[in-house]
Amino acid sequence: MRPVSIVGTAQLPVQATTQLDLRQLGAQVVRGAMQEAGVERVDALFASNMLGDELQGQKHVAALIADESGLEGIEALQVQAAMASGSAPLRMAYLAVGSGEADLAVVVGVEKMSEGLAAPALSKALDAKEVADGATLISKNADLMRLYRKRYNVPEDGFVNFPVVAHHNARNNPNALFKDMNVNPRTVMKSRMIHDPLRLLDCSPICDGAAAVVLSPAEEARAHSPHPVRILSSTVATDRFRVGDRPNPLWLEAAHKSALKAYRLANVHRGDIDFFEVHDAFSIMACMQLEAAGFADQGQGWHLAEEKRISLRGDIPISTMGGLKARGHPIGATALYQVSEMVLQLRGRAGKNRVREAKIGMMSSVGGAGSTVITHILGI
C-alpha cells in the first residue's frame, strides 16, 4: 500500500429538506470536491447512500451520480454498511488509491431523509426478526441508555453535555442544520421524551445532505492541494449482530477492535489523538465509543461530558463542528461531512471552532447499534 491523502472536499449545508434530488445533490459535491482538488477527471467514484431505495425508490446511485457529474464511463460503485455507509466507500477508495488501482478517486455521500418515513426505515439496520418483535433502532439505544444509567448510577442529566457541547459547536458551522439553535442543559432536559429515557435532544435529526472528498496518492498530493491531509489508517470491525447476543451489551467491541487497529496501523497512541469525531447519533452511543476507544474506563465515559472534557478546549474534543447531533446526520453523507470537517481542523481552518495545534484526528461510523464500526485516523 502506498500512502493516501485527501486533496479536495465539498459539503452542502445540511437542511431539514432540500429540493435537489439524489443525483443533483451528488453531482454538486462531486464537482465541488474535484474543483478544490483542481482535477477534471478521476479514475473511480465510490458512493454512499442508505435510504434511497426505501424513500426515493432509487438504487444504483453510484452510476447515477457519476453520470450527472459528467464522469462518463468511469468505475463507479456504491458501498453499504447501514449507518456507517459513508465510511465504507471512503475505505474502498483508500484501498483503491493505496493499491495503485486508481490514482484519483472521489467519495460521495448523499441522503434525502425528508421524503417518506425515515425513522422506520432506519430500523432495517437491525436484525429483521427483532424488528418483527417490535424493536426499533431508537428503542435499542433507549434500552442501552436505561441500562447504562442503572448499572453506573448516572443521574438523569448525566448525558446532558453531549448535546449541549455538540449544539454549541454547531453554532459556528455554516453547514450545520442547527447553526441558529441555542441549547443549554435546561433545553435538553425539557425536550420531549421520545423513547423513555431518550429525549428528543439525545437523538440526531432527520435531514438532507451531501458531501464528497477526493483522494490521491500522498506523493502526488501537493500537485492538487497546498494542504493535503493524510489518511493514516482505515479499519473496520464487526460485533455480534444483536445487542442481546453480546457478552456485555454496554461494550462496543467493534468500536474497540477498529480503534485499536487504527492506532496500530497509524502508529499513534490514544494520547496522540487531538480530536475525535464520534458517531453521536445518540448521546449513549457517543459515550460508549469514548469508552471503547480507550478515552475512559467502562462506565466512566459520561464523566468526560459531565466535566466538559469533550469541549473544544477539553482534553478530548468531540463533534467539533456539531457532530451528528447538531450538524445533522444525513446517514449516507454523514461520514463525508466528518472527513470534510476534520480536513478543516487539520488545516487550521475551522474558524472559532479550531482545535489548537490539531495534528491528528480520529473519526468513527457506527452501523446499527454497533454491529459495524469503521474508524479512520487522519493527520498532517
Binding site: 430500523s123 417490535g134 423513555d196
Partner: protein, 133 residues
C-alpha cells in the same frame, strides 16, 4: 416476511425453542446453528422455560412497519433464566411499574399484521410474572 418464513419460525416463535451447544453447553436463543461462544456446530434443540426478568426496556412511539397501529407499546430486552437476552414486547402490564429486574414470563400474543395481505402474525411477548418466584 413470507408465509413460508413464518412457518419455519413457528417453534421459536410459539414455544421458545432454541438450541444448546453440545460442545460448550451455551444456551442459544434464537437458534443460529453455530455457537457464538465456541464457534462449533450447535443444532441440538433446547426448550426454554419462558421465565426471565426485564434486562432493559423502553416505550416505542415510532413503530416499524406492521406495528404502526400498536403505538405506543412497551418493548424490552428480557434475560431468560437460562441466560440469553431476547427482544420482545411486554404485555398485560396494567398499572404495574416496569423496572430493570421485574420478573416476567412468556405468553403467546398477536404481534401484528404483516405485508399487504395483512396476515396476522403471532409470537411471544412477556408479561409480569403472575406467581412470585
Amino acid at each position: 416476511m413470507e408465509t413460508s418464513q413464518h412457518w419455519r419460525l413457528r417453534k421459536q416463535r410459539y414455544a421458545l425453542v432454541g438450541e444448546v451447544c453440545p460442545h460448550c453447553e451455551s444456551k442459544i436463543f434464537p437458534p443460529r446453528d453455530i455457537c457464538p461462544d465456541c464457534g462449533e456446530d450447535a443444532r441440538e434443540m433446547y426448550q426454554f422455560s419462558g421465565r426471565g426478568e426485564v434486562y432493559s426496556h423502553t416505550t416505542v412511539y415510532q413503530a416499524p412497519s406492521g406495528h404502526a397501529e400498536n403505538v405506543p407499546y412497551p418493548v424490552a430486552i428480557v434475560r431468560l433464566e437460562e441466560g440469553p437476552l431476547v427482544t420482545a414486547q411486554l404485555t398485560d402490564v396494567g398499572d404495574q411499574p416496569i423496572e430493570i429486574g421485574t420478573p416476567v414470563e412468556m405468553v403467546t400474543r398477536k404481534l401484528g399484521a404483516d405485508g399487504e395481505r395483512g396476515m396476522l402474525v403471532y409470537g411471544y411477548k412477556f408479561r409480569p410474572a403472575l406467581v412470585e418466584r
